[in-house]
Structures are given as C-alpha cells and as structure tokens.
C-alpha cells in the first residue's frame, strides 16, 4: 500500500509512542530504585546506590530469592520431564484423544490463575493434610509445575514437528537400536528446544504470584509474594523497587537466552 509521507511519519510517531509507553514503566522502576528519597518523590532529587546495599542486607528479600530459585528449579525439572514425555507421545504417535492432550496441558494457563489456585489449594487440603503434609515449598513446586508443562511441551513439539522421523530410521538402518538412536540422534536434535523450554518455564515460575498465593504454606515466601506483602509498607518502599528490578532481570535474562537458542519468536510467545 502506498502511504503518504505524513501517514508514514504519523505511524512512526505512534509506534515510537507505543514503545515508549511499553518500556517507560519498567525504566521508572529502575530509576526509582536509585531514588534517594524514601517516599519516592518525583522527579528524583538525585541518584544513589544506597537502597541496593540495603536490599542486599535485607534477610527477608534474600530468603525469598532462595525460595523462588528453588521453586523455579523444581518446577522446571518436573515440567521438563512431563512436557517432553507428552511432546513425544503427541508428535510421534497417533492415538485416540491426541488433540485433547494439548488442550488439557494449556488449561492451567488458560484459566484464570485464581481458579487454578483455589482448585489446587482445596485439593491439597483434602488429600495431603490427612497425610500430615501441609502447604509448603513442595506444594508451590507442584502448582508451578502444573502450568509450566505446557511451555516445555510447546517447544519440544514444535521442534519434533520440524525434525523428520527419517533421521531416526536412518540411524536404525545403520544398526542402532531404538534407544541408541534416541540418545545419539533424537536427543541432540531436541536439546535446544529442551533448553529453551526449560528457561522459559523457569522464567514463568519465577514471577508467578496468583497460584503461588494459594499453594505456599505459612513461612514460604517467593520473591513476588515478598514484593506484594511489602509494597504497601512505606518503610520498605525503596527496597521493594530494588527487588522489583532484580525480579525483572532474573525473568527476562532466561527468556532472552531462550530466544537466542530457538531463533524462533513463536517459541517465546508464552502461550
């Protein structure tokens, strides 16, 4: 379509404004973490790294970071196993109900988080409490794994669909048995997808708050839960900004790495 010069300029301006609006709030949090004023007055009277040092010494934030890392790693590990198994079943087999599998897998992120959250919460209450297992880090890992599976699954299925089964057949024609063909041919081919899916699953788990709210036991606080609890406390305000920056960095870096790995923007589209 032939766009007139003014139309081009108008579109460019609109898009520029759009990108500014998308990124300005995130930049604001970074600037605010350097704001020397405790009540975050605007514009900031200067810049300081003082709150970063304070945050480093904040034991609550630190232990929350550990809990988040542990929950993220645990959920990612489970999601990698379950997502890969399901992906191989769907991509390499035909069976009744094959279409339903991806539907069931996507349900935990398609339904509102609060529905998934209370469903798991009441299930844990009825099943685990009689066994003497209360809510804790374990239940957070189970909850996160439930919605992380689909991320790994999507990545691995996409890769398997692009990888013809003839590679495995060639390996087997050359005398490899099916397990060896898997180890030497198939696995190396899907490894980048596993890595990308794992990184994305970790990122998703790392900043999740709704399901976490309902599956975390008393005393188990992830980084998002910590921020949420401290957000309204004026005394903690500057430290919250610092932790917020850390949270963004720790969830965006894995996604960036995953995007480089898969060189396919569709893989990082989250759903």
């Amino acid at each position: 379509m032939h766009l007139s010069r003014p139309a081009r300029i108008a579109l460019r301006l609109a898009a520029g404004l759009g990108f500014a609006v998308i990124y300005a709030p995130l930049l604001l949090v970074v600037v605010n973490s350097l704001n020397p004023d405790r009540s975050a007055s605007w514009p900031p009277p200067g810049l300081t790294l003082h709150w970063w040092a304070t945050a480093w010494d904040n034991s609550g934030a630190r232990s929350a970071l550990w809990v988040s890392l542990k929950a993220g790693l645990g959920a990612t590990a489970i999601a990698l196993v379950l997502g890969t198994l399901a992906a191989f079943a769907v991509a390499r087999h035909r069976f009744f109900g094959r279409e339903t599998v991806s539907f069931v897998l996507v349900l935990p992120i398609a339904l509102p988080g609060i529905v998934t959250g209370i469903a798991l919460n009441s299930a844990f209450g009825t099943v685990l409490r009689p066994l003497g297992v209360g809510l804790g880090l374990f239940t957070v890992v189970v909850g996160h794994a439930t919605f992380c599976v689909v991320i790994v699954y999507n990545n691995v299925v996409a890769r398997l669909r692009r990888t013809p089964g003839s590679y495995e057949e060639a390996a087997m024609d050359l005398g490899a048995h099916s397990l060896r063909a898997f180890a030497d041919v198939t696995f190396p081919l899907v490894r980048p997808a596993l890595l990308a899916g794992g990184l994305l699953a970790f990122a998703l788990s790392f900043d999740e708050i709704v399901v976490t709210t309902f599956t975390a036991g008393p005393g188990v606080q992830t980084l998002p839960l910590w921020i949420f609890e401290n957000m309204t406390r004026p005394r903690q305000a500057p430290v919250v900004s610092v932790v917020a920056v850390v949270l963004v960095a720790l969830s965006v870096i894995p996604v960036y790495a995953a995007q480089r790995l898969s060189s396919d923007t569709a893989a990082t589209s989250r759903v």
Partner: protein
Amino acid sequence: MTATASGAAGAPDTAARRLAGALHRHPRLRLTLLLTAPLLWLAVLYLGSLGVLFVSAFWTTDSFTSQVVKVWSTDNFHALLTTPVYRQVVLRSIGVALAVTALCAVLAFPVAFYTARVARPRWRPLLVGAVLMPLWASYLVKVYAWRLILSEGGPADWLLRPFGLAGPGYGLPATVLTLTYLWLPYMILPVHTALAQLPAGLLEASADLGARTWRTVRSVVLPTVLPSVAAGSVFTFSLSLGDYITVQIVGGRTQLIGNLVYANIDLDLPLAAALGTVPVVVIVLYLLAVRRTGALSSL
C-alpha cells in the same frame, strides 16, 4: 570397533538392545510409558482438583461453624444471581475486560502496522522481540510500576500538571489503564503477524482500483486483520476477567469478580467456588463466540 564396544559393554548392551527391541515392537507400550506420567499429573491431579472445586460450588457452609456442609444445593448460584452486589460486580468485571480489549485493539493497530509494514525489514524481528520481552518482565513489577506512576504527586501528576490536569489516581480508570498496559503485547503480536502476512498484491490491487490509503485500510486491511484481533482478544479478555491482584494494587476500593472469590475463600469456600465458575463460564462463552470468527485456528 563394534566388536570391542559390544564386548566391553557385554550384558548391559544386550539388555538395552532387548528393551529397545521390545519398545520398538510395541508402540502401545511405548505410548503408555510416555503418557502415563503427564496424564496422571494433568488429568488426575489438575482436572481432578478443578472437578472437586466445581462440585463444591454446590455445597454450603454452616454459618455458625464455617464448616463445609456436603449437601447438594444450588443456594450459592441462587445467591449469585439474586444478590445485587454480585450482579453488579460481575457486570463491572465484564465491562472492564471489554474496555481493556477495545483499548488494546485500538492501541495495537498503529504499533503493529509500523512493525509489520513500515519499519525496515531488517529491524522487524528485533521490534517483535521488543514487543515480546515485556510480557516476561514480571507481572507484579509492571503493576507496581503503575502504582508508582499513578501515586499522588507521582510521574503522572508531574507530567499532567503543566496542562492543569492531574493523574487519575487509584480506582477503576487506573485498573483499566494498568490491565491494558499488561496485556497489550498479546494484542500486538497476532495483529503484527496478520499484517506481515498480508500480500502486497492485495494492497496494490486496491490502489489500482482507485482506493485511497484510508479506503484501503478500511476495506482491505481491517477485514483481514479482524480474526487476529479476535485471537488477541481471547488473551486480553480472559486475563482481565480473572485478575484480582492489579485491582488490589491500583484499584483503590474497586471490586472485581476476582476480589470476591479471594475474599470468600477462607470464610465460605463453596461460595468462592461458585463465584469462581463465573469467569470460567464467561471465558468459555467468549471462546465459543470467537471460534465462530475462525480466529482460534490462527492462534
């Protein structure tokens, strides 16, 4: 080489070979081994929990002991339909979700048009990455950013003061604004894809037939992009409808359906479950409506 390898490995290799042979000959066994764990997790644990939740919506709570009474009754749904507050909150939530969706569609179009057709081709993948990245930057931090922006004397007030205006403060408009910001990339991406796939020939044909730019946009571009807007709206609508955290942070005293669910969990779980089915039902209805436009296949 093969001889030494199999000789050194010996028995384990033949065992592995035998197992591999068995798996290879029995695709059903292979499939069972692959599917058992994921299905146990998702179908039994997850769908089971959802099912129990749905059933518990038909139970009641003893108002004295706040114990759940497992007797079938439709009291919760009756209350849901007849209590004015609930009706109001449900309608407000749907209104917010629709407003957010409309705003996202309007805002996404120029940005997507630029990234798909105006920007230099070399830059396009980078720009798409720039749209995607914020989706992964913590949800909570983005809401927190808007809390800072809209705070009294914060950046919004500071920006608008020269014009004699003030920011909206916390409340319903702030909620709509923040949710729009949160879900905007979900709308930009499908619209971008649709615009990028629009054949240049169509646009040229329209121009050859004498259509001016605006006419082409109205008669060619918008109709082809509409299914993608519908696809994006699935996200903007359902994510807004289920949200309760954003409202708590920037909504002031505004109540949405998510807050009602949250408020009732400890006191009256059956009522909370009944309230929780509302967004699910609305989302399913919305999905069915969108499916008629054929948008879901482009997801």
